[in-house]
C-alpha cells in the first residue's frame, strides 16, 4: 500500500450517498482513499461483493446505509446488518482481519460524519497495514 489505503465504499442512494454529497457541498476535506459504489439500498450489498473487493486487493470495505428506521425500502438496512455479519464470520474463518470491513449508518444530513468515518476508517486501515492476500499466489483466476 503506497501508504494511502484503498477502500471500496458502498453507499445507499437515499441517505449515505446524499451524506457524502453533503460533505462535498460543505467542502469538508477527507483522505482520497475511498472508491464509492452507489447502490439503491445497503441491503443490496451481497457478502460476495465484500469478499470480491478484498480478494481484488482492497485494503478495506465500507458499507454505509440509512439509520435504523430510516430505510427507504423499510428494512433494507436490517438486511444489510445480517449480510455484513455473514461476511464478517467468513472473514474471521479465512483469517482476514474483520476490522477491514465496516458498516456505518450515515444520513443525508451527516456530511461531516461521512468525512469523519472515512478519516477514521482510513487511519484504522493504515494501522492494520496493506491487504496481504495477494502476497502469495497469482491474482485473478
Amino acid at each position: 500500500m503506497d501508504d494511502l489505503p484503498k477502500i471500496i465504499a458502498f453507499a445507499c442512494n437515499w441517505c449515505s450517498y446524499a451524506g457524502a454529497d453533503l460533505a462535498g457541498v460543505s467542502r469538508i476535506q477527507y483522505p482520497p482513499s475511498t472508491r464509492v459504489i452507489r447502490v439503491m439500498c445497503s441491503g443490496r450489498v451481497s457478502p460476495m461483493f465484500i469478499l470480491e473487493a478484498l480478494r481484488a486487493g482492497a485494503d478495506g470495505v465500507l458499507v454505509t446505509g440509512c439509520h435504523p428506521g430510516d430505510c427507504h425500502y423499510l428494512s433494507g438496512n436490517e438486511k444489510a446488518v445480517h449480510n455484513i455479519e455473514l461476511a464478517r464470520s467468513l472473514l474471521a474463518l479465512l483469517g482476514i482481519e474483520p476490522e477491514r470491513l465496516r458498516l456505518e449508518w450515515i444520513s443525508a444530513a451527516e456530511g461531516a460524519r461521512f468525512a469523519q468515518v472515512v478519516k477514521e476508517f482510513t487511519e484504522q486501515i493504515r494501522q492494520l497495514g496493506a491487504n496481504k492476500l495477494q502476497a502469495a499466489g497469482d491474482r485473478q483466476p
Partner: protein, 586 residues
Amino acid sequence: MRQARDRAEETDESPRIGVFVCHCGHNIAGYLDVPALVESARALPGVVWAGDSLFTCSDAGLAEIRAAIVQHRLNRVVVASCTPRTHEPLFQAACEEAGLNRYLFELVNIRDQCSWVHMNDRELATAKARDLIRMGVARAALLEPLSETELPVQPEAAIIGGGMAGLTAALSLARRGFAVTLIEREPELGGILRHLDKLYPTMVDARELVARRVAEVREQANIEVLTSATVQAVKGYIGHYELTVRSRQFGLEMDLPVRAGVIIVATGAQEFKPFGLFGYGDDPRVLTQQELERLLAESNLQSPISNLVMIQCVGARDETHPYCGRICCLTAMKNAMRLKQQNPQTEVYLLYRDIEVHGTHFEDYYAQARDLGVIFTRYTPDAPPQVADGRVLVYDELLGMRLSIPYDLLVLSTPLVPAAGVHELARLLKVPVDEHGFFLEAHVKLRPLDFATDGIYLCGSAHWPAHLDEAISQALGAAARATTILSREQVRSSGAVARVEESLCRGCERCAQACEFGAIEFVELERAGVLLYRSGPSLSQKIARVNPVLCKGCGACAVVCPTGALQASHFTSRQVTTMIQAAMGH
C-alpha cells in the same frame, strides 16, 4: 456468468462508449487534472470518444453529448461531473433525445465526492477520479437497455368501511367521476357516529350529520353500496384489484366480484369494553362513555343523577393499551357538559391523568367545561382510583389529599381499539398492522395515508384514533392519493427493477420473503420433462414472477436468491463486481 447475466452483450452490439469530463468551471478543473483524465478515459476498453466541457449540464454541453452520440454511434454515455442525485435525469433526457435508451447512461461523481473533498492534493484526487471514471466506464459497458412497463388502470375504487371516513372518501371520488364500491360490514352505513349524540366541539347532532352524508352517497349514481358485506378474497395489484365480497342482500347471501384500480381501507375502530375493571359488567351503574352517550342521545337517562364520576384512561396508557386514546378526554368533557346543561345540580367529577385537548379550538372547550362546574381531579397511576360501595376513592396529587366521591353513575373512558376482523383483512390485503392492531402506513411522517403496497390507501380510525375533522381530512386525502392512480390510463414502472431468469428459479420463495412491497408472485409452471418421473408433486413447479410496477428496485431479492434467478437490473452482480475490479485497476 455470461449467458444469463449479461444481456447487454447479446441484445446490443459491442459497447461504443463516449466519456464526457466536466470542468464545472473551476469546481472540478481547479482541483483535478481534467486533460489527464480525458486521456486515460480515452484509453479504456470500449471507449470510442472522450472529451471535456466547461459545463456539461449547460445547453451547450448537452448539445455536445447529443451530437457525439450520433456522430460516433455511441451506445453508452458516461459523464464525469457531479452527483447523479440531482443531474442524472438531465443527462438521461439528453441521451433519449439522441435516441439512446436512458439506462445506457452512467454518471461519475468527481465533484461532490472528489474535487470538493480533496482540494489540497491534486495528484491523489486526480488518481481517485481516474479510478472512478474507470469504474463508471466498466459498468457502462455492461449496462443494458431497459424498458418501463405500463399496466392499465381500472378507473374504479373499492372502499372498505362505510363510516364517516369511507363515506367522505367515496363522495370525493364520485364527485371526480370515478366509480366506487363502498363495502360496509354492518346492515347500515354510518359507522360509529350512528351511536353518538353530539359532536365536540361544534355540538352538532352526530346522527343528523351522518344521515345527511349517507343520503348524499345513496344519491350518487356511481357509488355502489354493499351492506352486510365482508371482503373474502383479494387478488391483483395496483391498477386492477379483484375483490370477492360476501354480501347479504334482500335476505340472501352471495359472493360478488368487485373490480377496482385502488382500495381504500376505512374500517374504523371500536370502543374498548373494560370488563372486570371498576365493576364494569357486574354493576349496572358502571358504563363506558359510549354507553352513557347512547343514553343521552336516546334521552332515557334515569334522572335525576346527583353524582356522576368519570374515570379517564381506563385500559389506556397501561400494559394492555400503552397508548393514549386521543379522543377520550374530549368525549368525556362533551358528555359532562351535556349532563351539566341538562341538570346543573348534577355533580360531575372527571378523574384524569393528563387532559389531552391539543389544538386551537379544544382548549377553550376545556375551559367551558370547567366554567360549567365540571370538577377535574388529577390522579397518577401509582395511586389509581378505586371503587368501594358506591364511592370512588382517589388521591388527588395536586390537592395532596385523598377524596371519597359517591356516585350514582360511574362512567369509564376507554380507548378506541382496532375493529374486529382487522387481522383477517390485513392478511387478505397483504398489508401490515402495528402492535396494537391499527393499520401500519408506508411511512409514519410523510406517507400517513399510503400503504407500502402501491394502490392501497388508509384513512380514519383504522389508522389511529382520530377526531372527526381528522378522519374527514384523511378520507379526502386518501381520495387524493387514490386519484393520483385513478386519473391516469396506465401506471408505469421503472426499468431498474428485479427480473427473473425462470429456468433458474427453484420457487423457494426466499425472494418473496425479502420483498417489502409484495412485488413477487409465484405461478405454477408445467414442465414437460417431469412427466418422465412418476412422482406426483413434481408435475408442475412454482416460478417467481416480478411485478415491475410494484418492484422498487432495492435489490434485496437478488441477494437472497440461492440460484441467481433473481437479478437486480441496472445493479446486477456482474455490474457491481466489474466496478470493484475496475476500482482496483484490473
